[in-house]
């Protein structure tokens, strides 16, 4: 039951996208998100869709996995869509009581929905093709310059990777505790809110106890191996850019330039003409 959660779960496959340096994927995703918010016009929209579909195809991750991430934000998407639909001023095309839909509103709603969909799928591509460890490694290296202004980049990324590492462990633990209590007749599903909240106590107490115990053990194990933070620490698998990473950078840059160009074209030629 609980082990089916896939938000940000790594999907193992042998593809060029999986092999890319995590820094490329981080920056690439960031640039893609930026491109989603600067694009204008149908051509740019098609380009963004084609780019995303191409990356998914190359990554060999089944499309159904990408869509799973969307389920979590369905409500957010509906609310965003409705707000855009009803609250955008402009030429009216439909009206009932206090509700009115404008042409601009409809356009905005559709655009916003696609933007959100692309955004979620785009970031899912990154998390599905990169292990959490690679991701924090990439982040650490990308943010390394911040060390100069006394931001403890290594410590932050270490905390991040430990936190990420513990999510599946704690999920599994929750599952086991739930089962152990259900075997003693616990009921987590029925009853009103207060009853349900009370039913959580037998679940939360062992979970917290175990989380603290694990944290303690981990701290001990790190100390026993003389861990002392970032200063002078080397990596077993240091990140080095390879040819494919430069190629990926070029492709992403070309894509972003194309999107900017399309926006300029749209603003100077299509909008004044309309």
């Amino acid at each position: 039951m609980l082990r089916d959660i896939t938000l940000g779960q790594y999907y193992p496959a042998d593809s060029p996208i999986h092999k890319l340096d995590p820094r490329v994927k981080l920056l690439g995703t960031l640039l893609y998100i930026i491109s989603l918010f600067i694009f204008k016009g149908y051509v740019a929209f098609v380009l963004a869709a084609v780019f995303l579909i191409a990356v998914i195809k190359i990554s060999k991750v089944p499309f159904s996995y990408m869509v799973k991430g969307l389920k979590a934000i369905v409500i957010l998407m509906i609310i965003t869509g409705l707000f855009n639909l009803f609250l955008t001023p402009g030429t009216e095309i439909w009206r009932w009581w206090i509700f009115r839909i404008t042409k601009e509103g409809a356009q905005n709603a559709v655009l916003m929905l696609f933007r959100l969909t692309f955004l979620i799928i785009g970031t899912s591509v990154m998390t599905l093709t990169t292990t959490p460890n690679q991701l924090t490694d990439g982040l650490e290296k990308s943010l390394h310059p911040l060390n100069k202004i006394h931001i403890p980049v290594h410590e932050i990324s270490m905390m991040m990777s430990i936190a990420l590492r513990f999510i599946p462990i704690l999920i599994e633990e929750t599952d086991k505790i739930m089962k152990a209590q259900m075997a003693r007749g616990a009921d987590f599903e029925n009853g009103n809110l207060i009853k349900k909240a009370k039913a959580m106590i037998p679940l939360l107490v062992p979970l917290f106890v175990s989380a603290f115990r694990r944290a303690n053990d981990l701290a001990m194990a790190m100390e026993a191996r003389c861990y002392r933070g970032g200063e002078g620490r080397t990596k077993m698998k240091p990140l080095h850019y390879q040819k494919r990473d430069y190629i990926a950078y070029v492709i992403v840059s070309l894509y972003l330039i194309a999107m900017i160009a399309l926006r300029i074209v749209w603003n100077t030629f299509v909008v004044p003409a309309a």
């Binding site: 082990r3 089916d4 999907y11 193992p12 496959a13 633990e173 086991k176 505790i177 089962k179 152990a180 209590q181 259900m182 075997a183 003693r184 007749g185 616990a186 009921d187 106590i201 037998p202 107490v205 062992p206 106890v209 175990s210 115990r213």
Partner: protein, 285 residues
């Protein structure tokens, strides 16, 4: 009165990249009052199997009948089933949560809807039957040693008065004395109250000494199912799947190989001793 498993299959994470078939076409019949040992290597499906018996896991296909009723029927009372088929998990840390040991043992009976005084009575009885020292009843369960925690966990399930008691690795991580005490108490309970006990373990010595029937699991299937003597006759095959027969089985086979005419089906040290003495006395005369 029995548990019947009919072609039970279970697949973890079906339809994803991490798909694993944990149970393959399991057919079993567990009679009332049996003392069964389920043994198998890590990942052989034994823990998955026992979680099916009280409905915590739902088989991907196949049926399970408890006392003649299909537990997957719509409207079947799963909570009632769970109080009849008690399951004690391997780690007591996963279930202890109350401020005192006594309250923790009361949790099960309270969930069954019993009034507080009766739940308390049940808790006393259960704690006594696992041999838990009375002066510790009102201590915090988190301060106990591993063996004591396990006793409390077993008592927590026993207090619900199950008809079938399933224990997942009840002796893992215990010293020999603690292990023997817990197993002796289980055997006593089986003898006195006649409840069905299913013991999951990978220690052959534990299992051989106490149980009347052994089920060997390997890669999600039942490999052997029979009385200990019969199962341990296949000690070479057991070894091939990463298990082993009790040490005395090896001893008896080796004695026979060097020409001492002992029977090789002894599974406990006492049996082996009697058999060796019998042969020796025969020679002296």
């Amino acid at each position: 009165m029995s548990i019947i498993l009919d072609k039970v299959n279970y697949t973890y994470s079906a339809g994803t990249a991490y798909e694993i078939q944990a149970l393959k076409d399991i057919n079993l019949k567990i009679e009332d009052g049996e003392f069964i040992g389920v043994i198998g290597h890590t990942g052989s499906g034994k823990s998955t199997l026992i979680q099916h018996l009280n409905g915590l896991m739902h088989a991907t296909s196949g049926d399970i009948y408890y006392n003649g009723a299909d537990i997957y029927d719509e409207g079947y009372d799963m909570r009632a089933l769970r109080s009849k088929v008690g399951l004690v998990f391997q780690y007591p840390e996963h279930q202890l949560f109350e401020t005192t040991i006594f309250d923790d043992v009361c949790y099960g009976p309270m969930n069954q809807g019993l009034p507080k005084n009766e739940a308390g009575l049940r808790a006393f009885e259960a704690l006594r039957s696992v041999g838990f020292p009375e002066e510790l009843y009102y201590q915090s369960p988190f301060d106990l040693s591993g063996g004591q925690k396990r006793r409390v966990a077993i008592a927590g399930v026993l207090a619900m008065k199950p008809e079938v008691l399933i224990l997942d690795e009840p002796t893992a991580g215990l010293d020999p004395k603690g292990r023997d005490e817990i197993l002796d108490q289980l055997a006593l309970m089986h003898k006195e109250r006649g409840i069905t006990i299913i013991l999951v373990s990978h220690s052959m010595e534990d299992v051989a000494k106490y149980v009347g029937r052994i089920i060997v699991m390997n890669q999600g299937s039942v490999m052997y199912d029979g009385i200990p003597k019969e199962v341990f006759r296949h000690y070479k095959e057991l070894e091939a799947v990463g298990l082993a027969a009790p040490q005395v089985t090896y001893l008896m086979h080796e004695l026979q190989e060097v020409g001492i005419p002992v029977r090789t089906d002894a599974t406990t040290v006492e049996e082996a001793k009697a058999e060796i003495l019998r042969v020796c006395q025969g020679r002296i005369r």
